[in-house]
Structure formats: structure tokens, C-alpha cells
């Protein structure tokens, strides 16, 4: 790094700035839009000078959407709550099921273990639309349509394979001998799993959990089909902003800001774990 010439330094900074602007500008623009009325947003040419308004946020929080055609009821705050509940619960369930499973797959080779692990992974690369129709049918028969239970179950298709495969990799990176050393000192395998394997894979588990949370949060199609308005997350709820009297850009923007905030906060908080997780290899003997 020290050998970089000043020219290289400047070019590097420039390139990084470009990348940051490219990715961050839309978010920045949406952030600005969320404080504007539909009229200022749609004015040509667009301007970053405007008198900010909180009316969009007020509309979302009160659930009353003012449109040219009159007042509409929207359930955005409920959607947001659903999103948080569904994502958190799904990730929690996936962690409880996935982490021990990942440990089993990492440590024990049993008949069919690779097949089972691969089948679980295949849920990730099968397009959701492929399974949606039969799933809808089954859920109706089972009475699981439009229930949180059913949605969380389906969300396992998203969360479980992610957690299983990422965490498995972390467990495999821990030398089995570290665990053996613990077991031979007089501990059961379960104590070893709790005291040695879990803490050592901790950063990896946190990273996998975060990733699963983001994927669960972003899910659209399962919730669209399998849940009705009162159970839907924000991703689906946002459709309500496309009204008969036009698209409510201001409210959409503020809805985006509100719905991005939890994941962004979580990612920023977990950043140090992610870095730790990625540098786990440096600790190995």
C-alpha cells in the first residue's frame, strides 16, 4: 500500500468515489424524495432545492393516504410490523434448526448426508414461481394460507439453506482436533458443541443470520400469493401506493426509507462481526 504513487492514490480515490456514487445515489435521491410532495418530485427539471415536508411520513404512520381521488386506507405500519415479525421469527427458527444441522453435516459423514444437504440447497436455486402453485394448493388444504405460521414455514425455504450452507463452512474451518482436545479433557460432545464449536463459529453464524434476514425481508412473491393484506410484509404492501389516481412517489420513497432502515441498521451493527467472520481463518493454528 505504501508503494502507491500520488497519481495512483488519486485515481484510486476517484474510482472508489464513482462506485460509491453509483450505488448510493439512488438511495440518496429516494431519501430526498421522501420529504417532497408528488408535485415537486414530478416537476421538470428536478431540483434538489425544495421545502421539505413530513406529510409522506405522516400519511404512512396514520395510514391515511391522500390522493387526488380522495383518502385511501393503507396498512403500511402493519406491513412493516409484519416484515419485522416474519423476518426475525423465520431467521430465529432457521438458526435453531440450521445451526445444529450444519454442525452435523460438517462433522459427521453419514449415509445420504450430502444428498440431504444438497436437496436443502436446491431450494435456493429453484425459482419460487415453480413451487408457488402447488404450494398454494397445499396450503389451502392444510389451512395454512394467510397464517404467520405458514409464512414462516415457507420462509424456511429462503433462510434455512443459507444458514445451513454458510454455517457448515464455518464449522468445517474449525479444526476437529480443537473439539477433540476439549472432549478428551472430559466433556460430552454436546458441551463441546456449545462451548467450543458455537463460539468459534459465532461470527459466521451472525453473518449467515444477517444474510438470511435480508433475504427474508426482501422476499416478495411468497408473501404476495400466500398472505392477504393483514399478514403481508412491506415488500408486498408497497403495491398499495400504485393507486387508481397515480403512483404516490413521495409515500413510496418514505416507505422505502422506513423499510430499508432496519436492515441497514442491522448490517451496520453487524459489520464488525462480518469482518471477524471473514478473518476467522487467521486464528487457525
Amino acid at each position: 500500500m505504501d508503494t502507491m504513487s500520488p497519481v495512483e492514490r488519486v485515481l484510486r480515490a476517484l474510482a472508489l468515489t464513482l462506485v460509491v456514487v453509483f450505488f448510493m445515489f439512488p438511495i440518496f435521491w429516494i431519501f430526498l424524495m421522501s420529504f417532497q410532495t408528488n408535485e415537486t418530485i414530478l416537476s421538470i427539471p428536478p431540483s434538489i432545492v425544495f421545502s421539505p415536508t413530513l406529510s409522506n411520513y405522516a400519511a404512512l404512520i396514520t395510514g391515511k393516504l391522500q390522493t387526488a381521488a380522495g383518502t385511501l386506507d393503507i396498512a403500511f405500519m402493519r406491513n412493516l410490523g409484519n416484515s419485522i415479525f416474519l423476518s426475525v421469527t423465520s431467521v430465529a427458527v432457521a438458526l435453531v434448526l440450521g445451526v445444529p444441522a450444519a454442525y452435523a453435516f460438517a462433522r459427521h459423514k453419514f449415509k445420504g448426508s450430502e444428498d440431504i444437504a444438497f436437496t436443502l440447497l436446491s431450494f435456493r436455486f429453484a425459482p419460487p414461481l415453480l413451487v408457488l402453485l402447488p404450494l398454494t394448493q397445499y396450503f389451502q388444504w392444510l389451512g395454512l394460507s394467510n397464517t404467520y405460521f405458514g409464512l414462516i414455514w415457507v420462509y424456511q425455504l429462503i433462510c434455512l439453506p443459507l444458514i445451513l450452507w454458510i454455517v457448515r463452512g464455518y464449522f468445517e474451518d474449525i479444526s476437529a482436533d480443537v473439539e477433540y482436545a476439549y472432549r478428551i479433557a472430559g466433556h460430552s460432545w454436546f458441551a463441546t458443541f456449545r462451548k467450543i464449536a458455537l463460539p468459534l463459529a459465532g461470527p459466521g453464524i451472525a453473518a449467515a443470520g444477517l444474510l438470511a434476514f435480508i433475504f427474508a425481508w426482501n422476499n416478495f412473491v411468497f408473501a404476495l400469493v400466500l398472505a392477504s393484506a393483514d399478514k403481508q410484509p412491506v415488500t408486498v404492501g408497497a403495491l398499495a401506493f400504485i393507486t387508481s389516481s397515480g403512483i404516490q412517489y413521495g409515500q413510496i420513497a418514505s416507505a422505502i426509507v422506513l423499510s430499508v432502515t432496519p436492515t441497514l441498521a442491522l448490517a451496520l451493527y453487524a459489520q464488525r462481526y462480518l469482518v471477524e467472520g471473514l478473518s476467522l481463518g487467521a486464528v487457525k493454528g
Binding site: 482436545a181 472430559g186 493454528g285
Partner: protein
């Protein structure tokens, strides 16, 4: 109470399905007495580490039994076997300091804090790691980690101590010092230890008995001296000893008065029959093809010896290694003086019958060592 610490009976290890997978350990039988230090010696993949891990309980035993202190343990979890182990890969717990790593092994024994502190201090002094007790494994060198791992195993009061390549990462000087100290430590406390190593110096220096393994088969299990002087087969003969034993295929002819070994390139080694006992002579005469083995330090130069030609002459600071072209192969000699011999110079080589090892040409089994039957 029996004084047998460990009894291994007909143990097989397969990786993969039994009888079809990789056969890593073949019908192993071994007994270790209390207070003994045993070295499992062999090259990589010979089955020595698999054996150790089966004793510890980290690998399932495919067939056979392992008994510790009189009870069969092959189906027991490691926790129930009361063995301590130092791992080749150190396997220290990353979140704990060296001190905690070592003290940790005593947790199950429920000793008071002051006793634990004393013990840790003692073992740290022994292994010269007092100055790094407060450090974390990731911040110390491989050699230091290895000593910490060794300390974690030795501090325990287990019925058997398993040491997997315990000193592989140490510098030669330190290794020599620690060998002595560790042996003293083990003997003083009457501990029983099995160490796995590919370093014969380590095996010779530490072990009461050495188990030489190759291809999953126990080749010989005996004292270091016996292994050196009376190797059971060609493998042990050539594997143990540095520089390795010289070996030459030979055919035997003889009469009432003479024993004659015919080597390649028409070289003949002639001995009066009286150089060998009757039994040895009879055993030799039954064979046609044998392999002659002779240790490099037993080969003598002599004007009336068999002709050879110097190929390499190296002075190593305390001894000379001479490699000579001899009977279509290479004969290595060790001499303790600096020898001025030019490459290409002819020399006479004399092989004393008392230092000849004769092995069966087909099975490799030892027939005789000097004047005695194997």
C-alpha cells in the same frame, strides 16, 4: 490389579466400509505396561496416527478390542477413557490464553486454584513457556503453540498420555533438551505414554519400546537396541538407522567349509563356515535368494577387501560418509576420522560376518544377525 495399561487385540481400521474401504491398520496387537513410554514409529500413512486416534476414541475401531487398565473401551466416548492427548496440530482454544489453555485440562479434576496455578507454573517451566502464559494462541509461534499443547496434555493425571508428533515444530537444540526433561517428567510420575513420531532419534531417546509400523502392519515391537541390532525384517532394518542400512541381493552357495554370497556384477563374499553357527548355516543353505544388510558404521576399509570405487566423500564435521560403487549398487561407509579419498579412487571393502544381517529374499524376514539366528 494388572500392570497392563493398554491392550490392543486384533484391531483393524478401515476408512470407508469394513473390508472394502482403505485398510489403514491391519490386525494390530500390542500391549503396553504401566509406566512405559512407547513410540509408534513409521512414515506418513503407516497407520500410527490412526492407531493413536482409535485409542483416544476419535476414530471408530472397525474390528478388535482396545482395553485400558483392564476394561474394554473401544465403544466408549473419549470422555470416559481417561486419556490425555497432545495433538499434532496443537488445537489450542483460540479464545483462551496459553495459561487458560493448560489449566483448562485440569478443570474436570476439580483442584483448588492454587494447586492448578502451581501445576501450570511447573509445566510451563519444564517446557520453557513461562513468558508466554498470558498470550493468546494466535500471537505465538508454532513451536510455542506446540509446547503449550504438550503442556496441556502432560499436566493431566490421565491413565494414558497420547502424544502425536509432540516435538515436530521445535528447533533442534530445544528438542534435544526437552526430550530429556519430558522423559524425566513422565518417568518421575510413573505416567504411561504413547508417542507417535516419524523421527527415529526422538523414538530412540524417549521410548522404552518402539513399535515400527508400515502399511498398517506392526513390523516390530521391541526395545530401541533390539530394533537396531536385531531388525525383524528388511523394512525395520532399512527404516531404522541413519544413514540407512546397505542392502544387496545375494544368492547363497556353500560347502562344509565355506559360505559364499554371490552379489551382482560377479562380486563374491566368501566366509569360512566357522564364522557362522551351525543353525545359521543350515538356515542360510535352505535359501537361494537372500538380501544382505550391513550398517554403514560396520563397513570397514581393508586392502584385501572386495573392490569398490569412491562415488561420494563427505565430511560432516564429526564423521565421514563415503558412498562407494559396489556390486552394482552403492555401499555407504561411516568413518569417524576425516578421510582423504578422491572420487573414483578404488578402495577395498570388508564386511565382517558378525555384523551381517541376512534377510529372506522373498518375505524379507530376518534369517540371521551376525552369528545368531534371528
Amino acid at each position: 490389579m494388572t500392570d497392563t495399561a493398554l491392550l490392543i487385540r486384533d484391531v483393524d481400521k478401515f476408512y470407508g466400509p469394513v473390508d472394502y474401504g482403505v485398510h489403514a491398520v491391519k490386525k494390530l496387537n500390542m500391549d503396553v505396561r504401566k509406566g512405559e513410554i512407547i513410540a509408534l514409529l513409521g512414515s506418513s500413512g503407516c497407520g500410527k496416527t490412526s492407531t493413536l486416534r482409535m485409542i483416544a476414541g476419535f476414530e471408530a475401531v472397525s474390528r478388535g478390542t482396545i482395553s485400558l487398565g483392564g476394561r474394554e473401551v473401544q465403544t466408549f466416548a473419549p470422555v470416559r477413557r481417561n486419556v490425555a492427548m497432545a495433538f499434532e496440530g496443537y488445537s489450542l482454544y483460540p479464545p483462551l490464553t496459553v495459561r487458560e489453555n493448560i489449566a483448562f485440562a485440569l478443570k474436570a479434576s476439580k483442584l483448588s486454584q492454587s494447586v492448578v496455578d502451581d501445576k501450570v507454573a511447573g509445566i510451563a517451566k519444564l517446557l520453557e513457556i513461562e513468558d508466554i502464559l498470558g498470550r493468546y494462541p494466535s500471537s505465538i509461534s508454532g513451536g510455542q503453540q506446540q509446547r503449550a499443547s504438550l503442556g496441556r496434555a502432560l499436566i493431566r493425571d490421565a491413565s494414558l498420555h497420547l502424544l502425536d508428533e509432540p516435538m515436530g515444530q521445535l528447533e533442534p537444540q530445544l528438542r534435544a533438551v526437552l526430550r530429556g526433561r519430558i522423559k524425566h517428567y513422565i518417568k518421575e510420575r510413573g505416567l504411561t505414554a504413547i508417542l507417535v513420531t516419524h523421527d527415529q532419534t526422538e523414538a530412540n531417546a524417549l521410548a522404552d519400546r518402539i513399535a515400527v509400523m508400515e502399511g498398517g502392519v506392526l513390523q516390530q515391537f521391541d526395545t530401541p537396541q533390539k530394533i537396531k541390532e536385531r531388525p525383524a525384517n528388511l523394512f525395520t532394518g532399512t527404516f531404522v538407522g541413519e544413514p540407512p542400512m546397505n542392502v544387496f541381493e545375494a544368492s547363497i552357495t556353500g560347502s562344509e567349509t565355506r559360505v559364499s554370497f554371490g552379489l551382482k556384477d560377479g562380486v563374491r563374499l566368501e566366509y569360512p563356515a566357522s564364522d557362522f553357527s551351525h543353525a545359521v548355516r543350515d538356515a542360510l543353505m535352505k535359501r537361494q535368494k537372500v538380501v544382505l544388510g550391513i550398517r554403514p558404521y560396520s563397513v570397514r576399509r581393508s586392502a584385501d577387501g572386495v573392490a569398490g570405487r569412491v562415488a561420494v566423500n563427505q565430511w560432516l564435521g564429526d564423521q565421514t560418509h563415503i558412498a562407494a560403487d559396489f556390486a552394482g549398487g552403492t555401499m555407504v561407509l561411516v568413518e569417524h576420522d576425516r578421510t582423504e579419498l578422491a572420487v573414483g579412487q578404488p578402495i577395498g571393502i570388508r564386511l565382517d560376518p558378525s555384523s551381517l544381517h541376512v534377510f529372506d529374499g522373498d518375505s524379507g524376514k530376518a534369517i540371521s544377525h551376525g552369528e545368531e539366528l534371528a
